[in-house]
Symmetry: C2
Subunit: 364 residues, 2 copies
């Protein structure tokens, strides 16, 4: 393929990033963090690109969060301070972590003595120090120690392990998905739950230097969580349909969309585009609406269903009738899993392509 100059040179389906909007998103997040004295450590799972991690560092991030060894390896190209927010289980994973460049200050979140023991042994063998955050379950019920006593025990074990620097605690409030204005009770419950842990740690002489939390849905209420020092939003660089639906961004703060072509209008009341579950993903929306995406320029038009290479636009509530060959931009429900389906992202200003980023950290 020749170097594409505009989006008209691209085959569809293909992901576009509105560069202006992306920079606006980074700026707003960075300013909020500065205003509230929070360290900003964005999660690279959303973009999986070291160049975009570097943009986040330039915009004021203190470091980057990753989930997989591959993300750690790729982000280490651009960033010297990484948090692996994932239990480092298994020799293969530990070997890869220890092989990261020495200049990388590495911190790992974990929730078990087994994970801590394995990490400490690997750190000693590699002759490098690794920071540890004790992961606390803040109500999501996914990972994390369940009680303040367990948090204290694991923090003490970390503080006592040779090769390990105990740095604090982390949690992920992934269970809070209400609209932002309805999150008050959930944030208060979360704050109390974390508060009990922080108090117990302080009493035990294990006061955390880092209290890392924050997600994109709860992002703008992070300052209401007592004791929080750091936030790790991923999605907020691009936003997505879910983020807009719950009120954590405006629709016109959606920087990411998938460019698609109308390929069939044979069935009345709908138009079929070439972006399906292998371009948008088929992840149901966790908000008060339906479908798998919506048009960037006509958000009332929803992708009502998808199969692998087909997306069905619901035209029942619009007079707009696209022609075969017409192109549309679709905002997916969940941007992180859509990005992960593509090899590269095209940064655009209007229809002009001004940047190309490889989604380098996808895969394993």
């Amino acid at each position: 393929m020749q170097t594409p100059h505009t989006i008209h040179d691209l085959d569809t389906p293909v992901p576009l990033v509105d560069v202006e909007r992306m920079h606006g998103n980074l700026r707003r997040v960075s300013e909020y963090c500065r205003a509230h004295g929070l360290a900003w450590r964005p999660h690279a799972k959303t973009h999986k690109s070291p160049a975009l991690a570097a943009e986040q560092m330039r915009a004021g991030a203190v470091g980057i969060t990753v989930a997989t060894p591959r993300e750690a390896e790729v982000m280490a190209q651009a960033v010297d301070d990484l948090l692996l927010a994932y239990p480092p289980i298994g020799q293969a994973r530990l070997r890869r972590l220890m092989a990261l460049p020495r200049r990388v200050r590495l911190t790992v979140g974990l929730d078990s003595a087994e994970a801590l023991g394995g990490l400490a042994a690997a750190a000693r063998e590699a002759g490098r120090r690794v920071g540890v955050l004790v992961e606390v379950d803040a109500g999501m019920g996914r990972v994390g120690v369940q009680t303040a006593a367990d948090a204290v025990a694991l923090a003490r074990a970390a503080a006592d392990e040779e090769g390990i620097d105990y740095r604090g605690v982390m949690f992920y409030p992934g269970h809070v998905r209400d609209r932002v204005e309805r999150q008050e009770d959930a944030i208060r419950a979360l704050s109390e739950r974390i508060g009990v842990v922080l108090e117990a740690l302080a009493e035990a002489g294990l006061k955390p230097e880092v209290v890392s939390g924050g997600s994109t849905p709860t992002f703008w209420r992070s300052h209401e969580i007592a004791g929080l020092t750091e936030v790790r939003p991923g999605t907020s660089i691009f936003n997505d349909r879910t983020t807009a639906e719950i009120g954590a961004c405006g629709w016109d703060e959606n920087a990411y969309s998938v460019l698609a072509t109308v390929v069939s209008v044979a069935v009345p009341g709908q138009a079929v585009v070439d972006a399906g579950s292998k371009a948008l993903s088929k992840e149901e929306i966790r908000a008060d609406t339906v479908g798998y995406g919506a048009l960037l320029d006509r958000p009332e038009i929803v992708v009502k269903s998808v199969s692998e290479e087909h997306g069905l636009l619901d035209l029942s509530r619009t007079g707009w009738r696209p022609k075969i060959g017409e192109r549309v931009r679709i905002v997916p429900n969940h941007v992180c899993v859509s990005v992960n389906l593509h090899e590269r992202l095209y940064g655009v200003r209007g229809d002009d392509i001004v940047e190309v980023w490889d989604v380098e950290a996808r895969g394993r």
Copy 2:
């Protein structure tokens, strides 16, 4: 990475293919087709590997079905007879199709005069002949002409177009997802709907040489569809949780699984593995059950929820308590979208790796 010899050398999450079971699946499908006089043209979207397409050809396939230009290009390495079961809209897509090797006998399914006109112009310009199947909506409501009259009109237009060989009709019964033993009424309705079209075409002197249909869920009832000459199952090479749940395969005919590691058991009643929506996909199951996958060796244990890098095994109905670091094999709901998340598939006999296939046709 050194060449892995056994699955114990692999980082997780990683997709495995039980080679014995896969060959059994291919053999059963091939024998059914031979017994019922049906041409077998498997869909490559499931495996996206030219080596596996070649296996299908050796097992008796007449050619391969593809959906994207990339799939066509990659499969053309191994196969001389391709059906693009997707409307070829847009100059970029047409250029890539026309650039396929001359030895490839190409047929395209389409449902509009626009698609036909574009394809015919491209074929004439390239100086090659292209076959056409008229896509008929058999009740799914996705793509396909809606009436027998429309089918006749498009078939006639195809027959009249210079550069085009009108070959027949195709349909995809993706709406039939009942358990196999409860599909009788749906298959009868489908058969009648297609029958009306076939009759109208015959009356118009446009009797189709090819009547192409068939999906994995309806596969074993394909012989009940009057006039059918060809079937295009994708999933049946590997099968998956949905296919087993609807009775279109036995659980022990599942050839594909994702090997995953238990990374946390902090929350009671569950174990967390490192296969989430970026390894299994987060596609809800269309069958009488819940969750995003189940353990190959313990199908009663279900992946009750997933986030990007986490899968939560529901341990509420089992006494089994896995340890951190233990590995499990997970059968996903929908194999095609899981394969598409990985770079390569490891063919195994027991724990030994005997083949490695690149998922070469993923991406665009």
